[in-house]
């Protein structure tokens, strides 16, 4: 006779839902008065966004250009640091004495979010886009460093062994096996990180590190919702445009995914 034990899935789902409800209570999300207030405020906020105000557009276009520069320079500087560190962290090239400390360094850098790095660089460089670019560069270093050493370690071991076995050194192995074999993976990760950095750069201004974020925060704090909506639409347009261009580059350069 079959036992009538409840399925494991139902128990797991029940426990997960119970935990979520308890936490929602702690966070005030089950407070009916607060929820009602939230819905009313949101409605008021959304109503205040329309129609977007075109007046600050010239200022915002300049800020958007600055945002893109922060993202681009931050990405380039981050890549310049991430590429050599990723090679030093690659276990197929270096031993644990080198890869271990480098991986620890990359993990440490990666632990701090880009916005917090920007705060650090605002302290170091003062307010302005330079701090934003450095913040993006620092985060890119940690994040892309990890992505790249995983790409390098994904290179076919037989190719690495075959080139290594001719008696070359590590620099030659990198030039003649790792970089050409991993080129597509590297490019793919670069585009991904640049897309991410454009988004991240748009809020660098929240901490005084330049870009359109400064205006976004200002409009929000001064309750200038129509101006805010214009800035948000502009940011959205730029992000969509960058994603589209990045997709075009991928399709042009990278091989198509194999058919299922």
């Amino acid at each position: 006779m079959r036992s009538r034990r409840p399925p494991v899935f139902l128990i797991t789902a029940g426990v997960a839902a119970g935990l979520a409800l308890a936490m929602m209570g702690n966070l005030g999300l089950l407070d009916a008065a607060q929820l009602r207030r939230g819905v009313l405020n949101t409605t008021e906020f959304v109503r205040g966004l329309f129609p977007p105000n075109p007046q600050p557009l010239p200022t915002l276009l300049g800020a958007t250009l600055e945002t893109l520069q922060i993202a681009y320079v931050g990405t380039v500087l981050g890549v310049a640091g991430a590429l050599p560190l990723a090679l030093l962290a690659t276990r197929t090239v270096f031993g644990p004495g080198v890869t271990g400390p480098v991986r620890l360094l990359l993990a440490g850098v990666r632990t701090v979010p880009a916005l917090l790095w920007a705060v650090v660089f605002v302290v170091a460089f003062g307010l302005g886009p330079a701090a934003g670019a450095m913040g993006i560069a620092a985060y890119t270093l940690g994040y892309l460093g990890k992505l790249l050493y995983e790409v390098f370690e994904g290179v076919d071991g037989e190719v690495v062994d075959a080139v290594r076995s001719v008696g070359c050194n590590r620099a030659q192995l990198t030039r003649f096996a790792l970089l050409p074999e991993a080129a597509n993976g590297i490019l793919s990760q670069l585009l991904f990180v640049f897309e991410y950095n454009v988004r991240a750069s748009s809020i660098m201004g929240f901490v005084g590190a330049g870009g359109i974020g400064f205006h976004l925060l200002g409009y929000l704090q001064l309750l200038q919702y129509r101006n805010l909506f214009t800035a948000l639409l502009l940011t959205l347009g730029v992000v969509i445009a960058i994603d589209y261009l990045s997709g075009r580059v991928r399709r042009m350069v990278l091989p198509p995914a194999p058919a299922a």
């Binding site: 076919d156 062994d161 075959a162 080139v163 076995s165 001719v166 070359c168 050194n169 030659q172 003649f176």
Partner: protein, 260 residues
């Protein structure tokens, strides 16, 4: 001593290109993948290694090449022992004269044919020159001549991924030859070719062997052993269970060795 008196002494036999005595290798202590392999391959000869899948054929080649550790026994290349930490420098020098063609060839697909072939010379070229692709003209000429002798000079500037299986095989042979090897270890390198191309490749191998280069080739192609090999070694479960002249080896011999 007169010339006549000298000629009364027989010339000493040349040292084997590779000689192993009691060679053993394991990944996990107590579970050897290769046990007590005794082997000697004369210069300029072709030794075919046969055995079922998983018998240790590829592992044997990797141990001889130095890609896997020699856990027990001795290994000599051209009469010089290469095992042991004390001989690290001389071992590396000796290992450079041993070319290894892995099962899937280990070619860098996104590099050109010429770059792949030139990578066989990396141990002879300065690091900086090779990193910027400034190989000496003599090496470029030699690489092109090697490609010419293998019938694929016209493909020198093409990327490897655009080549056919037979053409890739020739590129792998050319890269091996650019090492100026005296021993070539080829791991089932004709296993994925059609019968006609397989014979073309083995004809090339036979021609190279006549110049004094020894070949150690793992294979499943029993019918080609007698035709192209000088010696045959049969391995099963990591042990050598047969060694003899290749010309007497038949499919019936394999069945006998497999106990069927």
């Amino acid at each position: 001593m007169s010339q006549a008196a000298l000629s009364a002494f027989p010339e000493p036999a040349p040292a084997p290109a590779v000689e192993t005595v009691g060679l053993s290798c394991w990944y996990v202590p107590g579970r050897p993948v290769l046990r007590d392999i005794d082997l000697a391959v004369a210069p300029g000869s072709i030794c075919m290694i046969l055995g079922p899948s998983g018998s240790g054929k590829s592992t044997l080649l990797k141990v001889i090449k130095g890609l896997l550790p020699l856990n027990a026994g001795t290994l000599s290349l051209f009469g010089q022992p290469v095992a042991g930490r004390t001989h690290a420098r001389s071992r590396r020098a000796l290992e450079r004269s041993v070319a290894w063609i892995p099962q899937h060839l280990g070619l860098v697909r996104s590099l050109t044919v010429l770059d792949n072939v030139l990578s066989g010379t990396l141990a002879r070229v300065g690091t900086l020159a090779s990193l910027v692709g400034a190989f000496p003209h003599t090496l470029r000429d030699e690489a092109l001549a090697t490609l010419d002798s293998l019938g694929i000079r016209a493909k020198a500037d093409e990327k490897v991924f655009s080549l056919s299986g037979g053409e890739r095989q020739r590129v792998a042979i050319a890269r091996a030859l650019m090492q100026h090897p005296t021993l070539v270890l080829a791991d089932e390198f004709v296993s994925q070719l059609d019968p006609l191309t397989t014979r073309e490749m083995l004809d090339i191998v036979q021609g190279i062997a006549r110049t004094g280069v020894a070949f150690l080739i793992t294979s499943h192609e029993v019918e080609l052993v007698a035709e192209y090999g000088d010696r045959v070694v049969f391995i099963r479960d990591g042990r050598k269970i047969h060694e003899g002249a290749a010309n007497a080896f038949t499919f019936a011999s394999v069945m006998t060795l497999m106990g069927r």
